[in-house]
């Protein structure tokens, strides 16, 4: 059995990188992706059994924090922030924790981080595993 993951990120390239990273982890499977918070919110009802949402913050239409606020009321899926502005201890990271983010990881090199797997892969993998296991 694989854990079902939705990727929410407005950068198409980043969705590709994350998706590629997920493919390297057999226990996770990407089942949905969205380019902004509103789109993701709309898709929640199509995926009631989601296990994990990897969530960017800076997105058009509805940003990640706003999505977090609303999604928390609707889904049991664990929500892990994955953004360039969630460097540890940063105001965005603090805000995400305040709003109930289950995990927070920072992209290593900006909103499009081609080196995600190389530099943050371990941290992201460990966090994801811990979240779905909790």
């Amino acid at each position: 059995m694989s854990y079902k993951v939705m990727i929410v990120d407005d950068a198409a390239m980043m969705r590709l990188y994350i998706s590629s990273f997920l493919n390297s982890l057999p226990e996770f499977k990407m089942v949905a992706q969205a380019a902004n918070g509103q789109e993701a919110l709309d898709k929640l009802s199509d995926h009631p059994d989601l296990d994990l949402i990897l969530l960017d913050i800076e997105m058009p239409v509805m940003d990640g924090l706003e999505f977090l606020r609303h999604a928390k009321l609707k889904t049991r899926a664990k929500i892990c922030m994955l953004s360039s502005v969630t460097v540890q201890g940063s105001p965005h990271a603090a805000k995400a924790r305040e709003l109930g983010a289950d995990g927070v990881v920072a992209k290593p090199s900006g909103t499009v981080s081609h080196d995600l797997e190389e530099k943050t892969g371990d941290e992201l993998r460990d966090t994801m595993r811990r979240l779905v296991a909790a």
Partner: protein, 1400 residues
Amino acid sequence: MSEMDEIWELFADDGAQSLDAMEAALDALSDGSTDDQVPHISALFRAVHTFKGNSRVLGLSVVESRAHLAEDLIGLVRDSGVPLTEEILDLMFLTGDTLRNMLEQVAATRADVDPEPSEDLLRQLKEMIAKCDPDAAPEDPAPEAAAPAEETAEEPAAAPAAVGGMDMSALFDEMSDGEESGSSNDDDFWEFDEDLDPDALAAKKAAADADMEAHEAEGPVRNGSDAAAKLAEQEAASAEPAATPAAPVDSSVPAEDGVPLNSLADDPTYRKIYEDMTEEMIEKIGTIIRSDDEFEERRKAAERQVDGLLHAAQQMEYGNWVSLLEDFAFDCPALETADALVAGLQEFLVKVEALRNGGEAAPALAAAAEPAPAPEPVAAEAPAEAEAPAAEEGAAKLSDDPTYRKIYADMTDDLIERLKTIRDSDDDLEERRDNVVKHVGGLLHAARQMEFDNWISVLEGFEANAANFAMDAELKGGIDTFLGQIETLQNGGKVAAAPAEPAPEPAPEPATVAKAEPAPAPAAVQEEDPAPAPVADAPAAEDAAAAPEASGGQKSLADDPTYRAIYADMTEDLVKKLKTIRNSSDSVEDRRADVAKHVANLLHAARQMGFDNWIVLLEAFENNAGKLASDAAIKEGIDGFLANAEALQKGGAIAQPKSGSDEADDLFRQLESYYSKIAEQVLELENDVAAAQGKLNDLAEEVVTKVEPFGLVRAEDAVRRIAKAETVKAARIQQLSFYEELISYEYVMPIESSVSGDMMVRPSHLVQLWATDQIFDTLGALRTMMERVSLDGEGDDWFASFNHHMRLVYHACSHYRMDTAGQLTMALVDLFGRVNDTNSVADALMLHMARGFLETIELVFDALDQGDDPDLSKIDDLFEEATNISFQQGGVVSARTIERKLGLPEEFHRVLSPDSVKAAHQALLDRKHFYVIRADLNEDETLAEKYLEWIGAGNAQMITNVTVFRDDITLFDFLLASDLEQDAIVGAMTTMDPSATKLYVELVLAPDYSSGEDEDDQDDSEPLHEGGNTGPSISLPLMEAIGEISAGQAMVHHILDDLSSTDLMQAVDHVLRRHGSETGPALNGDTYNALRDMIEAYTHKVARAAEAETQLNTQMGRLQEETAKLRERPAGILLRTLAAFVEARSRQEGKEARMSYNGEDEVIDQTMLDSLGKLLKQLIRSRLGGENGAAQFHLSLSRNDNRISILLEDDGTIEPDQDVLQGLHQVAVREGGEFRPVQMPSGGMRFHLSLPVHMALLDGMVVRVGDVCYVMPVNSIERIQLGADDALLPIAASQNNAMLRTDTGELAPIRPLTRTGLQGGVVSKLDAANDGGASNLYVVLRSDDNRIAVPVDEMLGQQLVLLRPLQGPLVGIRNMMGLALLSGGEVGMVVAVDRLADAA
């Protein structure tokens, strides 16, 4: 204070200000430092003018006359090109000084001054004026007791307008000058005026309205004295005075034929002032009658009194009074004897009384009333003077006065010019907008005084709109429209959109729409108000807006498409601003303030426009804006407002609150009863887990049935988890989690619901109260957790508990609206959360930061607890530290340094990751070029691949990238570093995207390649080390680890020392020789030499390793020292906290207890700090209780080498709580300390508490006694000496003990230390000798006045050691204060010199 008192006080204040201004202007003009004299001359003129006007109001004719001439003189300089000579300046200085003296006298006597002393000044001024302008040689401008007619002729601008203690003409001068229209004098004036009785205002307004058409048809007079003169003639011919009441007591009598009046006499306030003045004059004259003073003096005093009231009567236009007073003023100089004076005064008082009682003055007096006819209708006459034929046609008003109309016209022209200049200016929009508002405000004030209602409407409308001009075009358009309206008004027309002047006008606010206000409730508005949508493209709005006015025959600003367009623009602007605020990452406080500010602007405009729906919406939002306490609340509030605003813009109505919100209200109300039930059962877990779980399960399922319809799945899970908890602690964690899920829901509710739900127990309030109530327990728990945290990681349970407590701290911060503190709390949760998520361990920096946070936030809550303002500056510093922690951990320069060095645009601020910073730093060192590439790649996969391939090929290094939104499209700005020059980069981008629309160089950066980052970074990380002894500490486990490393290192040192001191070659040689002797030569020469070389090489390496280790040894010593210092804290932290605790705790008990203290500069270990804090709080709490509890404490803290001593005294007569005392005693003993309560004979208690120091750093001398190493505090060592036999003196009386005679001749008892270390106690000299370790080497130690000699075998040297307390069974070792890890890897026992000496 009576009104007269106030007036005199106001006069003194204003006068002093005027004279100050005069002096300042003269200083500026005389020191030659200014090239442009004009502003100073104007200021000088205004100051003198104001002073003069104010003097006249109070009838100070001598003062006024001097000021008047000074004004004339400076007027010649200002207006007639007379050069400002030294002579004139000197004279003005003299005038200033004289007027100041006069002011002081007048303020003290409340009467005019004696003219005599200033006659010379008067003469000089006249001469100077004559010299400067022979044609204008002045007559005496206001001879003492001058007739009103003379005044009016000479100073036509001032007489009728002097009200409220200020000179109207001065005010106009200031306003027309523009720069000082907002002076405090003006404010005082207008405030005073507006405070008038509403009835009086209404009467004035009605009178003004009756006349307004005629006056405004003419419009204010434009420039040109001919026109002014012509108008003056017209006014003189047509505007006969209206009737006025005969006497002040008859103040409420309306004008004949019901025509409303319009003079000061209509105003009850002024009437009251006049009555007071009359009373005062009567009293003073009575005094003069009875006085024994010289006749002449009494007569002059009487004249001054009468003059004063005469002026007031003229201002009030009381004809009968003017007649009476003038008569007396005329007759008085003819009274030549004291008796005649008394008789005349008595007769005068009789007439005064007659007038006051509503009678008339003697006909003779009345007949003499009118002196020379004035050109203006200055004096509104009494009914008796029925010859006024046109009384009904108009009351006397400022607008009747051509002088004022001329001033007004000039001001209007001035405003027009200024607005044109502003319109065409390139200055900053905000500055221009402010200038517009300022200048328009000036004319508006004047218009209100003149009661030009059409002007008031136009000016008010424009003033309101001008404040909101957000664009250049808007400002220009607004000014043009306004200028057009002014022109219409100037030409005698009316502005189409301005409301017609009602007669009488029902509302005091002419600019508001004259229609009934709907009920404020939104529902009512929706029914009654046909949605006056303000947008220009909503045609229905015009009809809707016009409809209510039609019946009244009135129009409003809302009818004017220009105003509607402006309003629509303002609305759009507000929507944009609110969206920006909504998504901003600024603090909640800042955003809340921004919301309130912007909403207030549109609200003002909506009121001006009379858009009731908008007013209701904006008022509701403005009211709620102050309650937006979180990011979520702000977002929800703005969303709700924007939805309603959009509906209104489209011509709809304000939306009803979402039905969901009502349901949510219901949900929270339904849940209210469960909160306490759940809490109750959670506590029951302590008693009966199974039973409590069963009940909690039932409750949880009930809650789930309530929550389920809302889809709050996480809340369901959380409440069920409460039921599964087996301990109170675990249940509490889930309880908070449940509440927080409800809070999430609360925050996404529409704001209307939140507002209406004030009476409901909202989850956020509940949690905040919970968190605040137990904040000190929470912080205590966190402190304990942080003390116990180890470097090996703590696991899920630890983090769950940490997270729980920190969230409680966060909610408590929210309760007090400490946003940054809340953010910092969650930032720390984030830091530790990541550690937990990745199974890693917290590093020293994080622990250090968390401890610093706890220390700081406890002080903050302590301050709040006692109602003080907490110092939050440290919180800001810590938050900054938290934000930068990843950079500190990575050992890289800070993001801010890179931002600064690269000159990065705003979008890259605060987004650089440590990796990005590291990459950028290296690229800077490599002196690469930096570019920002704008890329639109989301929809073009091919281009994206090309671009990333190009980067991947090594053409450039991607430092970072950020998202750039263009509407809903996501673009990216890539920050690249490259060796390529700009043209090559541009070429590459163009090759990939020939259109240069999806990929192009947005910015070429100009980095600062200088290497100053180290200093900068040091600054960034400075707070870590700030204050050294006062900063947050390193953890206990880390200290342990350092100690262990130190011990390990000592072992290595020992081994290496051993290795390096062994001559391996000699040993090998020895072995070989012995072997050879038995079996023949073992090795031939070559082999032997090769072996020797190898061994020598090896030995050499060992020696090098030993050298390296020696250096390491030194470093370890320093590390130990530093880490120990980090644990040190000033005792002040403890003492201040306790003092605060005493106050807060006593306040809770309805008392006011205080604690004084000393010893705050002592330095103690952090662990000690915490231990003492707990013990002392417990003790203090027990002493505060009850009626006889202590009200005063004094705490004295001191430290010697090995102990902290506390002496706490109080004045409570309450019996000590034995349980508490027993508990404290046990704790103290367990810690190796002592606790001793003493009942004081005078009442109160004294408590002695001493505890051994913990983890102190000690400068010690290490000695060996037998097998044991001891450490003696260096500062206790008096000397070290050899004890020759003759220096030893056995003391027979003291068993086998002996004394040592020191080199200086003193005797010191010998106290040998045990050679086995088993008991740590002393042994006798004899025992020591028998032990086989007798030594003649002695260390003489001194404690206070006690001196002892301790025999030792060997001095091992001085070391800085870390003193560690004796724990467990070791606590019982006497005469030792602790253990120390020595650099050789051994453990040394640290001698407690005082105890050893006491035992001697």
